[in-house]
Every structure is written in structure tokens, then in C-alpha cells.
């Protein structure tokens, strides 16, 4: 059955437990970061960080607003990246029909840099990153290994406030809608970001653009020409489990 995340930014305290737990579970090495005038470190997603906590602040009249956004792959219901790149290398980019996970395997290293750029530009959320040394393309894999053993993704396990949630899509959407109704009482602008088209549903309390440019899908990187054609020749979906588990 398809799974989904519910990321409740109204409960996030930017402790970065998720960001660090993700690294530890995937055994990704620490980057040599440097302070550049922000708590947001590393500053962006990269081959060693499938998850980055984004900080944003502004003055609303006399009130300080400080917004936290744990950014990660949305595991789109209909993933444009797969549309563009799914048929390039067999078994490199998989949309698992059981869980809804979009998973990139080691075979992505066979995808050319140019093709990667197309894949990236197709992503409405600016997620995939390529390791220039190995050529491997990477991003959040929904902790596919954990989820297929019945466990929740490690970021969800780690979250101390209940900002990160995971479960059956239907239950998660119910949870998100119930919470939205509650949060709207304090934040009338609150909304669920692209809930219908993604498996990672964010609750935002403020104008999405105040969080981050790609907090909701960006049209300019949405359905472009390449994608349109790709849609016409869409590969048959494969079950990721058959590839990964096998």
C-alpha cells in the first residue's frame, strides 16, 4: 500500500535530528562545511545530505517570523524525474508501486551529466544531486530498506517533536487534514503543500515562498518540452522491491 510522510512545520524546532540521523543511517560522510552567515548548514542538499533543514526569517510588522523547512525528496505520485530519466539506464531510477518510493540506485552513475541536468530541471522541487566523482545521482530514498522491513524512515524515528510522520497514505492524509484544521486557528494562511501530487506532505503555516523557493512545485521547472515528450513514451513502472529486494 502506498506510504506517505506528513511533515508538520508548525511542530518543527529545527533541531536537525532528522538531518543528522539521515546521514548516520545512510553512512554519508560529514561535509567540511563553513559558517557562511546562516544556521543552515550544509547550505543545500548535496550527495552527502539527502535532507537539509532550511531556515527562513522575516519581520512581519513588529513580529519576528522564523520558519523551518526540513527539505527532502517529495516522492511524487507521478514523478517527473522518472518520466525524464526512467528509461535511460535500466534499474537506475525506480518508482516502487508498493510504497510509492522514488529510488535511485547505484546504476544512476551510468547516467550522463547532461541527462542528469535534464532530470534535475524536470524536478519541481530541485532535489536530485549528482556526485561529480562517481557520477551517482542521489536523494532521499524513503529509507527503502527500513520501510520494506516494516520500519519507519529514520528521520521520522528521530524527530523529537512529532513534526515528521509516516504511514499509510490514507491515514497520513487524514492526519494532515486534521492538523491543518487545528493550525489554521492560529495561522489562517496555513496550507498543505501539493498534497494530491506528492507522498511527502508539508504543512506550512505561512506563504510558501516565505519558506523556500521550492517548498511547493515550481511551474518553471515543471512540465517543460522534454517532459512532455517523455510523458508520451513513458516506461512501464517497475516494482522497486523486485529490483532492490531481489
Amino acid at each position: 500500500m502506498p506510504k506517505s510522510f506528513f511533515i508538520d512545520t508548525s511542530r518543527c524546532i529545527a533541531c536537525r535530528g532528522c538531518q543528522i540521523a539521515c546521514k548516520e543511517w545512510h553512512e554519508l560522510p560529514a561535509n567540511q562545511t563553513r559558517q557562511q552567515g546562516s544556521h543552515q548548514n550544509p547550505p543545500d542538499l548535496n550527495p552527502n545530505n539527502y535532507k537539509v533543514l532550511r531556515f527562513s526569517e522575516y519581520l512581519d510588522g513588529d513580529t519576528v517570523r522564523w520558519l523551518f523547512f526540513p527539505d527532502q525528496c517529495r516522492h511524487c505520485q507521478d514523478p517527473p524525474c522518472i518520466s525524464v530519466g526512467g528509461s535511460l539506464v535500466d534499474g537506475a531510477m525506480i518508482h516502487d508501486s508498493q510504497t510509492g518510493a522514488v529510488v535511485y540506485t547505484e546504476k544512476t552513475s551510468k547516467i550522463s551529466e547532461k541527462d542528469f541536468e535534464n532530470i534535475l530541471s524536470a524536478c519541481p522541487y530541485n532535489i536530485p544531486r549528482r556526485n561529480p566523482k562517481t557520477g551517482r545521482i542521489s536523494k532521499c530514498d524513503m529509507c527503502f530498506d527500513r520501510v520494506s522491513h516494516g520500519l519507519v524512515p529514520v528521520c521520522v524515528k528521530t524527530c523529537p517533536t512529532g513534526a515528521m510522520n509516516f504511514g499509510e497514505r490514507k491515514e497520513i492524509l487524514d492526519m494532515a487534514n486534521a492538523r491543518l484544521a487545528e493550525v489554521k486557528k492560529t495561522f489562517p494562511k496555513a496550507m498543505l503543500a501539493d498534497a494530491d501530487s506528492v507522498s511527502v506532505v508539508y504543512l506550512l503555516t505561512d506563504d510558501p515562498q516565505k519558506y523556500y523557493k521550492f517548498s511547493v512545485a515550481q511551474n518553471d521547472s515543471g512540465m517543460d518540452r522534454k517532459m512532455f515528450f517523455a510523458q508520451l513514451f513513458r516506461p512501464v513502472r517497475k516494482s522497486a522491491s523486485s529490483v532492490l529486494r531481489g
Binding site: K3, R11, I13, R146, V147, G150, L151, V152, K157, C159, P160, T161, G162, F166, G167, E168, R179, E182
Partner: protein
């Protein structure tokens, strides 16, 4: 935290998922798991149909007794339960026969006795709860089966009724903090424990990381919280004398052991699981851990149908020694 009141469908779903997950890991257990799955499926169907409204016992006195440590059903007559017990017989006797063809003849004999009104259900149920078994031998003889068979049948029938009634008996008792090793409703020992998933109340700043320990009653299915760092049998708090056994690839299944009293209890670790399993099914699926614990010389906290792996076990009269 009690699991939400379940529908027949959702219980069936949970039984299937729990069994399937275990079978995909250990297909070898199919011959053990299947009969129990069928029994539990039927039980779930029966439970959701039992009518409780005829039982109008005032439980106020039971509430006060509970506060002083006496399980609710300890002192109550089960005579008014005759009807539900009968319904359970209707559902469960055929189910037992189907699940365990080896005792089909015996079950037919019991069924016949039931039809002929020759099975004093309420009294047998009361004795079962009391652990007195005074009339089991004679009743069994008159039917022509062994007392063990009759006890097995009564266990199935009574547990079906109790499981249906337990949530409603507990309503109104929620304020009672019960931290003992036996069930606050029926007084029975647990078949399995579980470590709960995290819960985060909306009003709190931080959710807990889960891991609260609950015992699951072997008879009525009630779940109650106990202190994870205390042995539910002997109150041992010494961490050096308590440990759990597990198989490395399956961190969600373990058996908790106390060296001080020598008892063990299987435990489903749900902290990182995405769904709540059907606990009795989960217990059946952990029999391999029962075997391992027995091999190391530990005793089960309760002898359940699925963990009577030895033949002719001699049940110790006082297991707390």
C-alpha cells in the same frame, strides 16, 4: 494507550499482515501459524457480533476493589454471561474443529454436549478464571473427553467473550493505575508484551520516543502499561539480572527474560514499526523465540496453546517459587 476499538475488517487485516510478515521471514512456521490464524480470524468475527447489552452488572464496587488491587472479574458471578458464552460456542467450536482436525472427534463430543445442554458454561468459565478447575474432570468424563481438551475449549470460548467485553468493562476504570503483572480485568497473565510506538500529543513540545511497555492479557486481550525496568513476575529491578534474547536480523521480536525468577515473556518491539500488529498472532509468530528461551532453561510466564511445545509438561503448581 489502548489500540483503537477495531472493526472485524481491521482485525482481519492486522492478523493477515502480521502473519504474512512473519511467514515471509520464516516460511517454515506455516504449519504452526496457519491454524491459529484461522482460529483468530473466526474469533474476530465472533467478537464483533457479541451482544453485551444484556449484562448490566454495576461495576462501581469493582472499581473500588480494583483500586485496592483486585481484578474486576475476580469476585463476579459469570452466570449472566451464559448467552454470550453460548454464542461463542456456536462460532468457535466449528472453528476449532476446522483448525485442528486432529481433535475433531473430541470437539464433536463437546459440541454434542453443548447442544444437549450438558455443558455448564458459566460455571466452567468461572472456574477457569479462578483456576480451581473443580468440575473439569467430572464434566470432561461425562462428555468423554479429557479435562485438558475441555480446558482448551473453554479457553477459546471464554477468551472470545472476554475479548469482546474487555474494552467495555474497562470503560470507566481508566483512572486506575495498574502496574501489576496480571490483568486488571480478568486476573490472567500476559501472553506477550509490546513496546509501544512513539506518541506525540499535539500540545507537547517534544513527543516521547516510544518504548513504553504494555502487557497483553492472554485471556481477555486487555493491554496495560507496566514499568519496563521491572520484572512483571518478581519485581526485580536489577538490570544485570534482566535481558532479552533476539535474532539479529529481526530486531522487532524479542523475548524478555529475568534471571532472578527464571521466567520469560515474548515482546513485540513496535517502536519503529509503521503498523500495529495483531498481538496474539504476533505471539504465535514468535514461538521460535519461546523454543530458544526454553533451551536456555527459562520458563514461560503463561502456557498458551501455541507454546506447549513439550509433551506432557508438568505444570508447576506455584510458578512464583
Amino acid at each position: 494507550m489502548q489500540p483503537v476499538a477495531a472493526t472485524e475488517n481491521s482485525i482481519h487485516q492486522a492478523i493477515h499482515t502480521t502473519a504474512e510478515e512473519a511467514l515471509s521471514a520464516r516460511p517454515v512456521m506455516a504449519s504452526l501459524i496457519r491454524p491459529f490464524v484461522n482460529l483468530f480470524l473466526q474469533k474476530a468475527s465472533c467478537i464483533t457480533r457479541l451482544d453485551f447489552d444484556t449484562w448490566t452488572e454495576d461495576l462501581k464496587g469493582a472499581h473500588d476493589r480494583l483500586l485496592s488491587g483486585i481484578p474486576i472479574l475476580m469476585t463476579l458471578s459469570l452466570e449472566p454471561w451464559r448467552k454470550p458464552l453460548e454464542t461463542a460456542c456456536e462460532w468457535m467450536l466449528p472453528a476449532i474443529r476446522e483448525a485442528f482436525p486432529a481433535i475433531g472427534g473430541d470437539i464433536e463430543a463437546v459440541t454434542a454436549a453443548y447442544r444437549n445442554d450438558n455443558l455448564p458454561l458459566s460455571r466452567l468459565a468461572e472456574e477457569y478464571l479462578d483456576g480451581s478447575f473443580t468440575h473439569y474432570e467430572s464434566s470432561a468424563q461425562s462428555i468423554g473427553v479429557s479435562a485438558d481438551t475441555l480446558a482448551f475449549v473453554m479457553n477459546t470460548v471464554l477468551s472470545t467473550v472476554l475479548e469482546a467485553f474487555a474494552p467495555r468493562i474497562w470503560a470507566g476504570m481508566e483512572d486506575v493505575r495498574w502496574s501489576k503483572g496480571n490483568c486488571p480485568i480478568c486476573g490472567c497473565l500476559p501472553s506477550v508484551s509490546y513496546l509501544a510506538k512513539p506518541s506525540g500529543d499535539a500540545g507537547e513540545f517534544l513527543k516521547d520516543s516510544g518504548g513504553k511497555k504494555f502487557l497483553h492479557c492472554a485471556l481477555c486481550g486487555h493491554n496495560w502499561r507496566i514499568n519496563r525496568h521491572i520484572c512483571p513476575v518478581c519485581d526485580n529491578t536489577d538490570a544485570e539480572l534482566r535481558f532479552f534474547l533476539s535474532v539479529p536480523d529481526y530486531p522487532g521480536e524479542r523475548v524478555d527474560i529475568c534471571r532472578k525468577c527464571g521466567f520469560y515473556l515474548p515482546c513485540a518491539d513496535l517502536r519503529e514499526r509503521s503498523a500495529m500488529p495483531h498481538l496474539d498472532t504476533a505471539a504465535v509468530c514468535m514461538v521460535h523465540l519461546d523454543i530458544l528461551a526454553r533451551q536456555q532453561g527459562f520458563k514461560p510466564l503463561s502456557y498458551l496453546t501455541w507454546n506447549r511445545i513439550e509433551n506432557g509438561i508438568e505444570f508447576p503448581q506455584d510458578i512464583s517459587s
